[in-house]
């Protein structure tokens, strides 16, 4: 047999996945994964060498008849050597971290198949000075609001300057594929932590603060995650998911969502007016 059987070929990535974080949804998650793998290989070598040295020392130098312990108190050269050795390895890992940091932290441009990120007036949908944007300044910005015990997502498209009328959804975020999505993470009550493992690292939602991250999804699909920081009794049920759909489908979904919200608001206004009339007519007691 001079080729790997299909079953074994499948096994290799699975075994590696056993030891590595989730990735595959977004470039930043993939960059974290490749950085992690380098650390893993270095760590495995050190782990095997040190555990082997320990096991060898215990077995080789076990007490036997006639054996005499060498009365050695130290070896300055050896000690300086391994101190410097450890420092050099850690310095290399630190440098690697900073080399990789850009590809993890800085958003990339949307792809050609991505959503059209301009408003009717032709201006970019979002621009902000205190957070990172893609090089061309265009991204779909979604506000992520953590609250006990549900995630709320507010999409661009407000009718009024103060943000009213913007479409929103709960628990599941819908985004267009091939489009850079930047997230503005906030909290309405306690500290939560936003995390979809396949789309990159987690970031705390802290009341009074803004936290930012981004992702860009190539493949349509649903990516699962959940709140990662204890936020109360419903913490385990605070599920989050991101559904990536082609841009046209996203536009349709967003328009529909906006209409549904407008209808619901109108219905609420009508029933409020009706209730007010009933209170005025004495049919309902004023609470």
């Amino acid at each position: 047999m001079n080729r790997i059987p299909p079953a074994l070929g499948h096994l290799i990535p699975t075994t590696l996945a056993f030891f590595t974080p989730q990735s595959g949804g977004s470039p930043n998650a993939n960059s974290i994964d490749s950085l992690y793998k380098v650390v893993l290989y270095v760590a495995l070598v050190i782990f095997v060498l040190v555990e082997a040295a320990l096991a060898y020392a215990l077995w080789r130098f076990r007490a036997r008849k006639g054996a005499v312990a060498a009365q050695i108190r130290g070896n300055t050269r050896l000690e300086i050597g391994w101190t410097l050795g450890a420092a050099v390895i850690l310095l290399a890992l630190a440098i690697l971290t900073f080399v990789k940091l850009g590809s993890i932290q800085d958003p990339v441009n949307s792809g050609p198949e991505g959503a059209n990120l301009t408003s009717d007036s032709g201006a970019p949908l979002y621009a902000s000075a205190d957070r990172k944007l893609p090089p061309n300044g265009k991204s779909l910005e979604i506000k992520v609001v953590g609250r006990q015990f549900v995630w709320e997502y507010v999409y661009p498209g407000a009718n009024e300057p103060d943000g009213l009328g913007a479409p929103y959804s709960y628990e599941q975020m819908v985004v267009p594929t091939d489009t850079t999505v930047t997230l503005d993470i906030v909290s309405a009550d306690v500290v939560h932590s936003w995390w979809i493992p396949q789309l990159g690292g987690k970031f705390q939602a802290v009341p009074g603060y803004h936290n930012y991250t981004w992702f860009k999804i190539e493949k349509p699909g649903v990516y699962r995650g959940q709140c990662a920081l204890i936020c109360g009794r419903g913490h385990a049920r605070m599920i989050a998911s991101v559904k990536a759909v082609p841009p046209a489908q996203f536009e349709a979904w967003l328009a529909n969502q906006k209409q549904l919200i407008a209808e619901a608001n109108a219905a609420a206004q009508a029933s409020r007016a009706k209730l007010k009339g009933q209170i005025g007519a004495g049919q309902v007691e004023n609470p």
Partner: protein, 567 residues
């Protein structure tokens, strides 16, 4: 039953008054040895309570979508477990060991402030009782980290959160008073000739532990006081709606919380540095490097706190600073591991139970140290922080690290405290159950975290291999518990039936073995002059020379250079 060769030297303590045996004497005592035993027994009881909470957590997580406990009770369980293990077990257990052995190892007759020492113990007990009284009302449920706003009066109205605050105050005060006492004792009451370069490495570790406590504990005391006034007196230190900051709590908590990790493991490093040379029959390799790396770890430990906050909204400059200091702290930690292995190298290693626990400690702590480097690489931390990867990491450091060294200390020093040996066969059984059970419980949790399971969730859906991995972890935790139980049986059995130990059963290096087992109230009639870092070796050699190799049991032998010091 194993018999031990007649030990030399034999001490007759003619001047000691017999200790009172009445139970009230335990309340009024200021004897550091009795206080040490009270510390150890009390903290071990809390260890069993915290362990029971851990087993209940593992039972709940053994199956997906399990309904054994409610979310409320689950949150209370992990809050009690974490708080108990940190504040009521590891830190005060180290204080207990130091209480008993610090004066003996430096050739002192008691601590510098014996009554303050008793107060430290009673404050600890009071803290534990206040905290555990909350189980009859509302136990706290915001986690041992008690992040605001979850722990404020709006989201945690129950009194359990206040019980947690009083626990931190009372045990913190206990630790600070104890630390001042340890420092004053070491600074002033060492035997003649015991210069800083001849101080046992366990004492170096306790000295550093004391400094860490004195610097870090007031910070958490201030933070919990601010939380208390926020909760009850209308201040808004941590309230984002009124000009306060939720991040401030995280900074203050971890400025204490990270040094706290070293407060828990540094004494363990000291214990290992005492035990390895005794059972390898070889001096410690690189005494100065180990003492220096202890101090270096303590210093750097104050610069790394924000690595617990890599996912919080903090500036990149802070992230970079603490990432670099976290890489840096791995260097002195690695140096210690190399020095310990070098101590075994070319020795004659006797596989007694204390040595087994130390070897187990090195192999497990190495894994905890390496996973710590993963966490210092902050983009990787963004993925694995707040998951079971971190749960595995802290348990490799605190259980594989601190708890295994505590068990090494129990097996090593029980003969001195009780006068009797622990059973070697039960000890080895206990070690292997604990070692295998520990790996079964925590190794797989790294994978759970990488697969996306956050910590502190009371239930999880049956996705991927989560159910299988959790089941493995739960089975492992019960093997681990069985191992701990074997040691308890061993201790209870050996108190009555263990072989008589004599003063120096291990032929050890430090001064606590230069007195009877258990030591008399005044510890030593005669305090020898110390000529090296291994005074007992010198004394044994001198006695051998004087008696031409024939030990004379039962005779008061005053070794060369011993000076009569007033009792």
């Amino acid at each position: 039953m194993a018999t031990y060769a007649a030990p030399v030297p034999q001490i007759v303590t003619s001047r000691a008054e017999p200790q009172s045996r009445r139970w009230t004497s335990w309340i009024t005592t200021t004897d550091h040895k009795r206080i040490g035993i009270m510390y150890m027994v009390t903290t071990f009881v809390f260890f069993l309570l915290g362990g029971t909470e851990a087993l209940m957590i593992r039972l709940q997580l053994g199956l997906p979508e399990n309904t054994l406990v409610s979310p409320q009770i689950y949150n209370q369980l992990f809050t009690m477990h974490g708080t108990t293990m940190v504040f009521l077990f590891v830190v005060p257990m180290m204080a207990g060991l130091a209480n008993y052995f610090l004066p003996l190892m430096i050739g002192a007759r008691d601590m510098a402030y014996p009554r303050l020492n008793a107060l430290s113990y009673w404050l600890l007990l009071a803290g534990g009782l206040v905290f555990y009284a909350s189980i009859f009302w509302n136990p706290p449920e915001a986690g041992w980290t008690s992040y605001v706003p979850l722990s404020n009066a709006t989201f945690s109205p129950g009194g359990g959160q206040d019980a947690w605050i009083y626990l931190v105050h009372l045990t913190g005060l206990s630790s600070i008073l104890g630390a001042i006492n340890f420092y004053a004792t070491v600074a002033n009451m060492r035997a003649r000739g015991m210069s800083w370069g001849r101080l046992p490495l366990f004492i170096w570790a306790i000295l550093t532990y004391s400094i860490l406590i004195i610097v870090a504990m007031p910070v958490i005391a201030g933070a919990v006081t601010m939380l208390l006034t926020d909760r009850h007196f209308g201040t808004h230190f941590f309230d984002p709606n009124n000009g306060g900051s939720a991040i401030l709590w995280q900074h203050l908590f971890w400025f204490f919380g990270h040094p706290e990790v070293y407060i828990m493991v540094l004494p363990g490093f000291g214990i290992v540095s005492e035990i390895l040379p005794v059972f390898a029959r070889k001096p410690i390799f690189g005494y100065k490097a180990i003492a220096a790396s202890t101090v270096a770890i303590a210093f750097l430990g104050f610069l790394t706190w924000a690595h617990h906050m890599f996912t919080a909204p903090i500036p990149l400059a802070v992230v970079v600073f603490v990432a670099m200091s976290s890489f840096l702290i791995a260097v002195p930690t690695g140096v210690k591991i190399f020095n310990w292995i070098a101590t075994l190298w070319e020795g004659t290693v006797e596989f007694k139970t204390p040595l087994l626990y130390c070897a187990g400690f090195i192999s497990l702590f190495l894994i905890g140290g390496i996973s710590g480097v993963f966490l210092a690489v902050f983009p990787v931390d963004w993925q694995v922080n707040e998951t079971y990867f971190v749960v595995a990491h802290i348990h490799f450091v605190l259980m594989g690290g601190a708890v295994f060294t505590i068990f090494a200390a129990i097996y090593y020093w029980f003969p001195k405290m009780s006068g009797r040996m622990l059973s070697e066969s039960l000890g080895k059984l206990s070690f292997w159950l604990m070692f295998v059970g520990f790996l079964g419980t925590f190794l797989i949790q790294h994978v759970l975290g990488l697969d996306g399971m956050p910590r502190r969730i009371y239930e999880y859906p049956n996705i991927g291999n989560w159910a299988l991995y959790n089941l493995i972890s739960t089975v492992g935790s019960f093997v681990l518990a069985a191992g701990i139980l074997v040691t308890i049986v061993n201790v209870v059995r050996s108190l009555k039936h263990g072989a008589i130990a004599g003063p120096d059963p291990w032929k050890a290096n430090t001064l606590e073995w230069f007195t009877t087992s258990p030591p008399p109230a005044n510890n030593f009639d005669v305090i020898p002059v110390v000529r090296s870092a291994e005074p007992m070796k010198d004394i044994r050699r001198e006695i051998e020379r004087r008696t031409s190799g024939v030990p004379a049991p039962g005779v008061a032998t005053v070794p060369a250079g011993a000076t009569q010091v007033g009792v």
